[in-house]
């Protein structure tokens, strides 16, 4: 019981917690942000934070006449050890997640469940009707049958904090098929109640010619063989669609999308993890922020990918487009290819039409199996550029590396290579006539290789 000088509490642990919380939040909302990666790279910042915190402690202690806290007390040391463990755990968890993407750890207060199922009488509906299916929680499976009937099977599961509530609530859930101006709306009644969560899964068979719209909150959607136009939106859950006769559009905010064989245009928007689109007769458009990988194969018309950091247009992709947060790989494009990206390593092979690449902070590798017939333009900022052409290629080249060199396997009297003030240049022609090749990078080597 003295009023002598007390030891202050250090602000280090508080600052550390704030920093950590902010990092976790950013990591959560920005899929490109890899926490342990950043933490590892910037771990010296921890030392700086420590020093600054101690400095502030010192000044504050002097001003108020209290004793300054020790350099690192027991509590802070324990906190640091804890953080190392948590980050290590998260790194391991993310590795496991990469291997088994379906694994999910759900935190839920409602752990008592009760379920029932309804089979609604089959209903004959006119050809070309628009069928809409809605559930705020639950999986939806739709496939097209040969008849003219709309068949709906629903199973409802209520989760509540105790069993009798769950039973009571699930009994109130009904399934309705309402007539709308152009078709039918299938939806549950009394699904959204307080103090319980009810999922209603649908198993629906529609006539082949129907156009189908599906909205689900939390749940997976699976659609097959629908001939009419298809629209799927999901807040959280995976979407899988195959063999569709018309346009397909999918919107989601969390989950994976897999679309196989569509005879119309395919449109994927939103946020999520993996996107896989294979076999599209029309255009394939992917718009949004997907964690990746994004794979697109075999698109008849134009493939368009747009996100904050990349904008790609590929006409008639017969090979593969694979894209993740770090890299873009493209092979076999029948028409023109336009790529504008940031911070990605790019690998492109065999583009029949014009090729335009604009990138920053990444390496660019371009290869051709046949001599190029259309112009090639590559602009990079801080990164090397590698162009590999068959030895019989003819072209007119201008390659400039502002702070780097240009190396070429092609040597021809009309090719002039120069280097002044660190700027490497290669200008000239190979063969009598050929497409123009324009390469510019600010830092990095440009390699023009001959393939054997």
């Amino acid at each position: 019981m003295t009023n002598g000088p007390y030891e202050r509490r250090s602000i280090f642990s508080g600052l550390l917690l704030i920093l950590l919380g902010a990092l976790f939040l950013v990591a959560r909302f920005n899929p490109d942000f890899h926490l342990w990666h950043v933490f590892w790279r910037f771990s010296p910042l921890l030392l700086i934070l420590w020093g600054v915190a101690k400095l502030i402690d010192n000044f504050a202690a002097q001003r108020s006449g209290q004793l300054r806290p020790p350099l690192l007390n027991g509590g802070e040391a324990a906190l640091l050890v804890l953080i190392v463990f948590v980050l290590g755990g998260m790194a391991i968890y993310s590795k496991i997640r990469e291997k088994n993407p379906d694994l999910s750890i759900d935190m839920s207060m409602f752990n008592q469940e009760s379920s029932q199922s309804h089979e609604l009488p089959a209903k004959s509906i006119p050809a070309g009707s628009h069928v809409t299916i809605e559930t705020s929680r639950g999986n939806v499976n739709v496939h097209a049958g040969d008849g003219t009937e709309l068949r709906v099977n629903a199973s409802e599961t209520a989760h509540a904090s105790n069993e009798s509530t769950a039973e009571h609530i699930v009994k109130d859930v009904q399934i309705a098929i309402d007539k709308t101006p152009d078709g039918y709306l299938v939806h549950p009644i009394n699904q959204d109640v307080a103090h319980a969560s009810i999922s209603v899964d649908f198993e629906v068979t529609v006539p082949k010619s129907s156009t189908v719209t599906i909205h689900t909150g939390h749940g997976d959607v699976n659609v097959a063989d629908v001939v009419g136009a298809l629209t799927v939106s999901s807040v959280q859950g995976d979407i899988e669609i195959h063999d569709c006769g018309s346009d397909v559009s999918a919107a989601l905010t969390k989950g994976d999308v897999r679309i196989t064989n569509a005879k119309g245009n395919v449109h994927v928007t939103g946020k999520g993890n993996e996107v896989e689109v294979t076999g599209v007769a029309g255009d394939a458009t992917v718009n949004g922020e997907f964690f990746g990988p994004i794979r697109v194969r075999d698109v008849g018309k134009t493939t368009h990918y747009q996100s904050q950091k990349a904008d790609l247009v590929l006409v008639h992709l017969t090979g593969l487009l694979e894209l993740d947060s770090r890299s873009v790989e493209i092979s076999d494009v029948g028409g023109l290819a336009n790529l504008a990206t940031q911070n990605k390593d790019i690998e492109v092979e065999n583009v029949a039409g014009k090729l335009n690449i604009a990138d920053t902070n990444g390496s660019v590798k371009v290869g051709y199996a046949q001599p190029p017939k259309e112009n090639i333009s590559i602009a990079n900022d801080s990164g090397e550029v590698d162009l590999t052409l068959p030895s019989e290629s003819t072209f007119e080249i201008s390659a400039i590396s502002k702070s780097g060199e240009v190396q070429s396997d092609f040597d021809n009297p009309s090719l002039v290579s120069s280097s002044d003030n660190g700027t490497g240049k290669l200008v000239g022609k190979v063969g009598a006539s050929g497409p123009k090749i324009n390469i510019v990078t600010s830092y990095g080597t440009i390699n023009i290789n001959k393939s054997s």
Binding site: M1, N3, Y6, R8, R9, S10, I11, S13, G14, L15, L16, L17, I18, L19, L20, G21, A22, L23, F24, L25, R28, F29, D57, A60, S64, Q66, M107, M109, V235, T253
Partner: protein, 71 residues
Amino acid sequence: MTDAIRTHCGCAYCKVRGLMGPVMIITIGVLFLAAEYSRYSFADLWPIILIVAGIILVAQSFASKDGHIGS
């Protein structure tokens, strides 16, 4: 001996320190509510708990211990 005395200590440091428990509980409650009624899940929002705890710790270190009773 200290428990009874500590609860009576009215210095700024002990006041802020006493805030920690209730504020944490309130934060967690608010987050669970927000997770139910907004498009963000608890898994999105939990780092806010760290930030709030950090803010209180910092406030604690700036609070004066003048008039502190007890050990």
